[in-house]
């Protein structure tokens, strides 16, 4: 389903400088459908870069990335929307539209894929119920707690039934109770048949999941284990 083949990503932080930062170095990995994969490592290990490359937010310097057999690097800028509609993304800072209510935030993704009003009115409440935010449907993001905002972001990522959900440090700003809530939610989504890729540096989170863990260190894969644990 997802394949990274010798992918290298180098950042040049200064436009005219010679300084280069290697975020990922010759990364090769494969993720099968319906898998739950945790990507772990210290800050700067390359977890976020890996997800950004899959979402085509960044382009690799070397190597190829395949999603559903299609080379992501070959997709033209104006065609990226079709790739992103097959992926649900959840970010550490939630990235909810501040000027839209929770309902509107979720409905927006359905509007993007061309769903009608009737379909939106039917599906959004269902997803809100799954994430436990039915009562918060008409609230704006600034009126939500951190955990609620993250659940709203998961609901938005889930609404169009994507093949895969990418979650980049979704529990980074949450307390242990909300962290557990979010992880349970992601596991529930995975049980429903969606592939989940979770990037996190939270030891308790990784150890409680008991699924595949890929450990990164300075842009390289140092371990890839089924039912792995946090070892750094």
């Amino acid at each position: 389903m997802i394949k990274f083949d010798k992918v290298t990503k180098i950042y040049c932080p200064h436009l005219n400088g010679n300084e280069k930062i290697t975020a990922l170095e010759e990364i090769s990995l494969e993720i099968k459908p319906k898998e739950f994969v945790s990507i772990t490592g210290r800050s700067g290990a390359g977890k976020t870069t890996l997800l950004k490359l899959l979402l085509a937010e960044e382009r690799p310097n070397e190597g190829q990335i395949f999603f559903q057999g299609q080379d992501v690097c070959e997709i033209k800028s104006n065609q990226l929307s079709y790739l992103r509609r097959q992926i649900g993304a959840v970010f550490q800072d939630c990235k909810l539209f501040p000027s839209k209510t929770v309902f509107e935030n979720i409905a927006y993704v359905m509007e993007v894929i061309g769903a009608g009003r009737e379909e939106i009115e039917r599906d959004v409440p269902k997803v809100l119920e799954i994430v436990g935010l039915t009562e918060r449907a008409n609230h704006f993001p600034k009126e939500l707690s951190g955990g609620e905002a993250q659940r709203a972001a998961i609901a938005r990522a889930l609404i169009h039934r994507p093949e895969v959900i990418l979650a980049d440090e979704p529990t980074g700003n949450l307390d242990p109770y909300n962290t557990l809530d979010i992880i349970h939610l992601l596991l529930k989504i995975n049980e429903m048949g969606t592939t989940v890729i979770l990037a996190t540096h939270n030891r308790e989170t990784i150890n409680s999941i008991g699924k595949r863990v890929i450990s990164l260190d300075r842009g390289k894969i140092i371990r890839d284990e089924e039912e792995g644990r946090f070892i750094l």
Partner: protein, 292 residues
């Protein structure tokens, strides 16, 4: 979403509408001032002419023949024949309240005026062609005088002013319109800058470029329409207020009437400028942020 965006982004959009209204007002004022300028030029040009005075002995048939010859010149707009009697009547009418002049004509006895042809050119710069043509007719035996030479300086001055106004008018208008477009574009760019994070999210959740552009385009067009209404109202009030004051100095110039007779075109200019400025500026401003 266009309307919703306008309502939620109240402060910034108010600034955009204000700048857009000024830009539209500027464009339509330029159009109206162009019309006023043209009116003044036409009015000045219509006052310029060449008069050919014929000797006492000249027969009406000879004058008619000269008139026919002159009518063949493409630069000639109008030729009016003024007989001796008509010239006397005109004089009496013009100076009926001036007893000194009236008495002097009486003392001379008879009709001291000469028959003449008053020739108007299509443009102020064409009188030289006409006088040149008259010189080449070789009819000195029936012509008393051609009084272009006395008015030559005035006519040439009008022509140079006309030409100068035309050239500088276009240059000045172009500069003002360019400034207005730049200010409008930057105001809208600033408004969209506040939405850059939202645009980034839109891209990441799979929105196509046109799906993102659409609301901004609609927002720009709506702002343009509102601005056009405002500037139309302001222009109407300016014309209503200043028209009587201008008429004190230039009685023939009725700007209010000119505004109404061109209302359809002004309306079209204002709305076309508003919608085009608003939507094109939005399109250009959003371009940078959708490259994610």
């Amino acid at each position: 979403m266009g309307w919703l965006g306008l309502v939620r982004d109240g402060g910034q959009i108010f600034a955009t509408i204000f700048i857009l209204a000024i830009a539209i007002l500027l464009v339509s004022s330029l159009f109206l001032s162009g019309k006023v300028g043209q009116f003044l030029i036409n009015s000045l040009e219509s006052k310029a002419d060449v008069s050919v005075y014929f000797k006492e002995a000249a027969l009406e048939e000879d004058i008619a023949q000269v008139q026919d010859e002159l009518a063949k010149i493409p630069e000639v707009k109008e030729i009016i024949y003024i007989s001796k009697d008509q010239a006397l009547e005109e004089f009496k009418k013009r100076y009926e309240n001036n007893p000194v002049l009236m008495d002097s004509v009486k003392e001379l006895g008879g009709n001291p005026f000469l028959a003449s042809l008053r020739i108007q050119a299509k443009q102020a710069g064409q009188y030289k062609v006409i006088t040149g043509f008259i010189d080449n007719l070789s009819i000195d035996d029936i012509i008393e005088k051609v009084d272009y030479s006395q008015r030559q300086n005035v006519i040439e001055r009008i022509f140079s002013i006309t030409s100068f106004l035309g050239k500088t008018g276009i240059l000045f208008s172009s500069i003002l319109v360019a400034i207005a477009i730049l200010i409008t574009f930057n105001t809208i760019k600033m408004a969209i800058y506040n939405f850059q994070e939202e645009v980034k999210i839109q891209r990441l959740v799979g929105a196509s470029n046109w799906f993102i552009r659409g609301p901004f385009l609609a927002q720009g067009a709506i702002a343009g329409i509102i601005s056009a209404f405002i500037s139309l109202l302001v222009l109407f009030l300016i014309v209503l207020l200043f028209s009587p004051k201008i008429q004190i100095f230039l009685p023939d110039l009725n700007i209010f009437k000119m505004f109404w007779s061109n209302f359809g075109f002004i309306f079209l200019i204002q709305f076309a400028t508003g919608i085009a400025l608003g939507s094109i500026s939005s399109l250009i401003a959003i371009r940078k942020y959708i490259k994610i």
